[in-house]
C-alpha cells in the first residue's frame, strides 16, 4: 500500500492508502472533506472536481497515489473563514444553485475557468462548464453567476 504525502487546502497530509483508492474517496473518507461529491461512476457529472496543482480534475478519475506530492484544493478551501469568495457570492446572488449537489464541482470548475480566462464570453463559459452536469437550474443562472464572478474577481 503506497504512502503518500500531499498538500490539501494548504495543509500537509501523509497517509497510507490502498492502491485502488480514488482521490475523491481519499478526500471524502480519509480526510472527511465531504464538500466534494460523487454523482456518477463514469467521470461524466463533474460533482467531484477539485484543483490538482492548480488544474481542475475530476477526482473520481485520479488515484490518490497519483496525487502524491501534489497540491490539492477542494471547495472547503475557498471560504476558510466562512466568508464566501467572489465566485461563491455570485452563485448566491444569481441563484446559481438549487439542490447544491453539483455546486462544489461547478464552483471549482468556474474558478479554474476564470483563472485561465479572466474575462470569458458567455459562450466560453457554457463551453467551459460542459464537464459539469446540473439537473436543477437549467444552467442560465450558473452562467450568469460565472460571468459576474469573473467580473468581481477581475476587480
Amino acid at each position: 500500500m503506497p504512502d503518500i504525502t500531499l498538500n490539501v487546502n494548504r495543509q500537509a497530509v501523509s497517509k497510507t492508502v490502498e492502491g485502488r483508492t480514488l482521490l475523491v474517496e481519499f478526500i471524502r473518507e480519509t480526510l472527511g472533506l465531504t464538500g466534494t461529491h460523487m454523482g456518477c461512476d463514469t467521470s461524466q457529472c463533474g460533482a467531484c472536481v477539485v484543483h490538482l496543482d492548480g488544474k481542475p480534475v475530476k477526482s473520481c478519475t485520479v488515484l490518490a497515489a497519483q496525487a502524491d506530492g501534489a497540491e490539492v484544493k477542494t471547495i472547503e478551501s475557498l471560504a476558510p473563514e466562512g466568508e464566501m469568495n467572489p465566485m461563491q457570492r455570485a452563485f448566491h446572488e444569481h441563484h446559481g444553485l438549487q439542490c447544491g449537489f453539483c455546486t462544489p464541482g461547478m464552483v471549482m470548475t468556474a474558478m479554474a475557468l476564470v483563472a485561465e480566462n479572466p474575462d470569458p464570453t458567455e459562450a466560453q463559459v457554457r463551453h467551459g462548464l460542459e464537464g459539469n452536469i446540473c439537473r436543477c437550474t437549467g444552467y442560465q443562472n450558473i452562467v450568469a453567476a460565472v460571468l459576474d464572478g469573473a467580473k468581481a474577481m477581475r476587480g
Binding site: 472547503e76 439542490c99 447544491g100 459562450a123 437549467g138
Partner: protein
C-alpha cells in the same frame, strides 16, 4: 437581515452551506460502527429464480450478513401495494396487481430487480461478495414495449393477470366525442410516443438504517422527498412495525424530481439488516445502478384525434394511450397514464367534447412513478402536437389556430370535459404577451441570421394548463425560543427548491420578524406529525398555505398579550406590517414574542411559550397553474443538429412568493423538457430487456451549452381563491410546456422538407433521417396493433 415581504427576491439561506462544502447529504453521514450494504440485482429482464447460494459470498472477508427471499418469507414481511389514485378498472373491478416485495421472490421481472442484500465491513468487501452470490436463474421471454405487451402472443409477467393489463381507464364523453368526430369537417389523427426517461437527480439514492434494541426503535436517514409516506409504508406494510417505531429523516437531498418520492425496496432491507446485525447499515446506490433501479417516467404511446369545423374551431379531442408501468404497480405508477394524463387533456382550449381512454401495462422494465409533471407533460404534448399537426395538414396558421380556440377569460370559472376545475386565468392575454416577448427579441432577425448560416428556422408557441397534486394536507409548527430564534417545522420536502428560504419568508413576512431568526426544519417525522413531502408542485400551495395559516393563527393568539401590553382591548387591535396598534400606541410582533417568554409581562391566564403553535392546512381543490411557452429553433439540414435560438415563457402561478426561486423552477423544468425532447431516452433491448442506457455515458443529459437563455414573465393578476396564499404552483410547469414548444419549433423549421412528425428525442440522426425521407411517416403506425 431585515424584514422581508412575500413577492421579494430574497436570497437563499441554504446557499452558504451548499457553496462552502458544508451541505450534509446522505453519503456525508456516517454512524459509529456502521456496516455497508450492496444490492445483488437481477441481470435478467425475466427469469425464474430456482435457488440462491450464498455460501461462497458469506465466506468472503468482512461479510456480515446476506439477506435473501428466505429471510423475507420467514419474517412474514409484506408487499407494498400501489397507492394509485385510480384503483378500479372500467368495469368497476379492482386494478390488477401482484405482490411487490423488497426482493424478487419466485421470478425476477426486470434488470436491476433486487435479489439479495450483502452487508460487509466495507463497500469494497460487500461489492466483492455480491459478485459471488450464486443465483440459479432460468431466463424467460421478456416484453419491453407496452403496445407489444398487449398482444395475445406476448410473454406474460403475471400468472394471475391476463394480458399484462394492470388498469384500464376512461374519462369524458365518449358518445359526444364520437358524434363530433363523425360530423366534423376535419378530423386529424396522429400516433405519438412520449419517450421513457428518468429523473437523474445528481445525488444518487442512499440511506443509513439504525436499530436500538433497548427501545425496539429504528431511525432511517434517507435521501427521500416523502419521509412520512415512506415511513408509513416501510413500517406498517413491510416490516410489521408501528409507525412510531421508525423515525425517518431526510438530510440535505441532492435533487429528486419525483424519483425520490417512491417507496423503494432498499431502505426496508437496510432496516432489517440493521436489526439483525445490531449495527447501522449504510447503502449508497451507484449511478449505473440508479438507471436500473430509480423509477422511470413518461413512456406512453398515444393515438390523438382532433376534430375541427370548417373554420378551424375545435369540436372534440380523443386520446387513446398505452402506458408502460414496468414490472410492478409501483408507489403510484398506474395513475400517471390514466388519471394523471387525463386531467389536463385539451389544455387551455375550448373543447365541447373530450374523451380519454388508456391502459396501464406491465412490462419487463424498471417501474414507472411520477417524474416532474407525471401525466401533465404527456397531456400537453399530445394536445399541442395534434394542434400543430392539424395546422400543417389543413394549411392553417398554427398560431392563429391556437389563438382562435383559447378559452376566453369570460368562460372562467369552467369545468373542462376532463373534470378539471379551471377557476381563474387569462389565457389570451398570456398568449399575446408571450408573442410580444418573442417578437421583441427579433424573430425576423433570428430567422435571417439562421438562414444566413444555411440553417432552417422554426418558431412555435405552446400554451399549457397543468394542475397540482400530491398530499392534500400539510403541517406547519412554529416555536418561539428564548434565544430569539423561531423554529419552523413543515412536512414538505425541499430537494433543492429552496423551501428553507421561501417558507421561512412567508412566516417572517406575515409576522413581521427578521428572516434570519427563523430556523427551518423539514423532512423529519419527529419534527412534524404529518407531512406530504414533495410532489405535484405542492410546496407553496399546500406547505406555504400551512405556514400562512399558522402565522395568522399566531397573530390571533398574540392579540390578548398585545392588548395587555398596550393596555387596550383585544377587539380594538389592528395588526399590520408586523405591528399591533390600538388607540395611539403600538407594539411590534417581535416585542410581543419577547414578552411571551417573560412571565412578568404576561397577562393572567397566559404562560411562557403561549405563542407556540401548529396548524394543519388541507387543500380542497387542486389548483391550475397555466402559461405559455415559445421557442425558436435553428436546424442544420446537413447534420440534423438543432440549436435553440430563443425561449420565452409567461406563467400564471398565482401569487409568487419569491420570483427568484420561481425563475429557478421554470428554468430547471424547461431544461428537463429540452433534455427529454432532444437527448434523454431510456432504451431497453426489445428482445432481451437489457438496459442499453445504463450510465451517464449512454443516457444524454443536457449540459450548459444545450440550454438557451430563457426570458420569463409572470402574470399575477388572478391569484386563485383555492388557497389562502393565492398560489397556483410552480415546480413542474417548466417541463410541462417545454417539450411541445421545442419539438413544434423544430418541425416548423422542417416545413420545406415535408416533415410533419418526429418522435422524441429529436436527435441529429433522427432529424437528418426525417429530412432525407422527405417526410415519409405513418401517422397511425404506433397504435395500429391495439386500436
Amino acid at each position: 437581515m431585515s424584514k422581508v415581504n412575500i413577492g421579494e427576491r430574497v436570497r437563499r439561506t441554504e446557499d452558504l452551506r451548499f457553496l462552502t462544502g458544508r451541505g450534509r447529504y446522505i453519503d456525508d453521514i456516517n454512524l459509529d460502527d456502521q456496516a455497508r450494504a450492496v444490492v445483488v440485482r437481477s441481470p435478467y429482464a425475466h427469469a425464474t429464480i430456482n435457488a440462491i447460494d450464498t455460501a461462497d459470498a458469506a465466506a468472503m472477508d468482512g461479510v456480515l450478513l446476506i439477506v435473501t427471499r428466505d429471510d423475507w418469507q420467514r419474517e412474514g414481511f409484506g408487499p407494498i401495494p400501489t397507492k394509485s389514485g385510480i384503483q378500479k378498472m372500467k368495469d368497476g373491478s379492482p386494478l390488477r396487481q401482484s405482490d411487490r416485495h423488497c426482493l424478487a421472490m419466485d421470478r425476477a421481472r426486470y434488470v436491476g430487480e433486487p435479489v439479495a442484500l450483502v452487508v460487509a465491513e466495507t463497500p469494497a468487501q460487500a461489492q466483492a461478495a455480491a459478485e459471488l452470490v450464486d443465483v440459479d436463474y432460468d431466463e424467460l421471454p421478456a416484453v419491453i414495449d407496452p403496445v407489444a405487451a398487449l398482444q395475445p402472443s406476448a410473454p406474460q409477467l403475471w400468472d394471475d393477470i391476463p394480458g399484462n393489463l394492470c388498469l384500464d381507464f376512461e374519462l369524458g364523453d365518449r358518445e359526444g366525442t364520437e358524434k363530433a368526430l363523425a360530423e366534423a369537417a376535419h378530423v386529424v389523427t396522429l400516433d405519438i410516443e412520449n419517450n421513457r426517461v428518468t429523473a437523474v437527480p445528481i445525488e444518487p439514492r442512499g440511506c443509513i438504517a439504525a436499530y436500538d434494541a433497548a427501545t425496539d426503535r429504528y431511525v432511517l436517514y434517507n435521501a427521500s422527498q416523502n419521509v412520512h409516506a415512506n415511513r408509513d409504508a416501510f413500517a406498517t406494510q413491510v416490516l410489521n412495525l408501528d409507525k412510531d417505531q421508525l423515525d425517518h429523516i431526510a438530510p440535505d437531498v441532492g435533487g429528486g424530481f419525483g424519483a425520490k418520492n417512491s417507496t423503494y425496496p432498499e431502505p426496508p432491507l437496510c432496516l432489517y439488516a440493521a436489526k439483525r446485525l445490531g449495527r447501522p447499515v449504510k447503502w449508497i446506490n451507484s449511478r449505473s445502478e440508479s438507471f436500473q433501479s430509480d423509477t422511470h417516467g413518461r413512456g406512453q404511446t398515444s393515438r390523438v384525434t382532433l376534430a375541427l369545423d370548417a373554420d378551424g374551431r375545435f369540436l372534440a379531442l380523443r386520446t387513446d394511450t398505452v402506458g408502460a408501468i414496468g414490472a410492478y404497480a409501483w408507489t403510484v405508477g398506474p395513475f400517471t397514464p390514466t388519471g394523471g394524463a387525463a386531467r389536463t387533456q385539451g389544455g387551455p382550449y375550448r373543447f365541447p367534447a373530450m374523451y380519454y381512454t388508456s391502459r396501464a401495462v406491465f412490462t419487463n422494465t424498471m417501474c414507472m412513478d411520477p417524474y416532474r409533471g407525471a401525466g401533465r407533460p404527456e397531456a400537453t404534448f399530445q394536445t399541442e402536437r395534434i394542434i400543430e399537426y392539424a395546422a400543417r395538414k389543413l394549411n392553417m396558421d398554427p398560431i392563429e389556430l391556437r389563438r382562435k380556440n383559447l378559452m376566453p377569460p369570460e368562460m372562467l370559472p369552467h369545468k373542462t370535459p376532463m373534470g378539471l376545475d379551471v377557476d381563474s386565468g387569462d389565457f389570451p392575454l398570456l398568449f399575446e404577451e408571450t408573442m410580444k416577448m418573442a417578437e421583441a427579441a427579433g424573430l425576423t432577425e433570428l430567422r435571417a441570421a439562421a438562414e444566413a448560416k444555411g440553417r432552417k428556422f422554426g418558431f412555435a408557441i405552446a400554451p399549457y394548463l397543468e394542475c397540482t397534486g400530491g398530499g392534500p394536507k400539510e403541517h406547519a409548527s412554529v416555536t418561539f425560543n428564548p434565544d430569539g430564534s423561531v423554529g419552523l417545522a413543515v412536512g414538505t420536502s425541499s430537494t433543492g427548491m429552496g423551501h428553507e428560504t421561501s417558507l421561512s419568508q412567508i412566516l417572517a413576512a406575515e409576522l413581521g420578524i427578521d428572516l434570519d431568526r427563523v430556523r427551518f426544519v423539514q423532512s423529519n417525522t419527529q419534527a412534524t406529525p404529518l407531512g406530504g413531502g414533495h410532489g405535484g408542485s405542492r410546496g407553496m400551495e399546500v406547505g406555504g398555505s400551512a405556514v400562512l395559516q399558522a402565522a395568522r393563527e399566531i397573530v390571533d393568539l398574540a392579540k390578548p398579550l398585545a392588548a395587555h401590553l398596550l393596555q387596550s382591548e383585544t377587539e380594538d387591535l389592528s395588526f399590520e406590517d408586523g405591528r399591533f396598534a390600538a388607540g395611539g400606541g403600538s407594539v411590534s410582533m417581535a416585542d410581543v414574542i419577547d414578552a411571551s417568554m417573560d412571565a412578568d409581562r404576561l397577562p393572567d391566564g397566559m404562560e411562557p411559550g403561549c405563542l407556540d403553535h401548529s396548524s394543519v392546512f388541507e387543500r380542497g381543490v387542486i389548483s391550475v397553474p397555466n402559461g405559455v411557452h415559445a421557442a425558436a429553433a435553428e436546424v442544420d439540414p446537413e447534420t440534423g443538429v438543432v440549436d435553440l435560438a430563443g425561449y420565452w415563457v409567461m406563467d400564471d402561478f398565482g401569487t409568487i412568493i419569491n420570483p427568484m426561486l420561481a425563475d429557478g423552477q421554470v428554468m430547471g423544468g424547461v431544461a428537463q423538457g429540452i433534455g427529454q425532447a432532444f437527448l434523454e431516452n431510456i432504451v431497453y433491448d426489445p428482445d432481451t430487456g437489457q438496459l442499453m442506457t445504463g450510465s451517464l455515458m449512454d443516457y444524454g443529459l443536457p449540459r450548459a451549452d444545450d440550454i438557451p437563455n430563457m426570458e420569463i414573465g409572470y402574470y399575477e393578476g388572478q391569484p386563485t381563491a383555492k388557497n389562502p396564499l393565492g398560489v397556483k404552483g410552480a415546480g413542474e410547469a417548466g417541463c410541462v410546456g417545454a417539450c411541445p414548444a421545442v419539438v413544434n419549433a423544430v418541425l416548423d423549421a422542417l416545413t420545406d422538407f415535408g416533415v410533419t412528425h418526429i418522435d422524441m428525442p429529436l436527435t441529429p440522426q433522427k432529424v437528418w433521417r426525417a429530412i432525407k425521407d422527405g417526410g415519409a411517416h405513418d401517422p397511425e403506425g404506433l397504435m395500429r396493433a391495439v386500436s
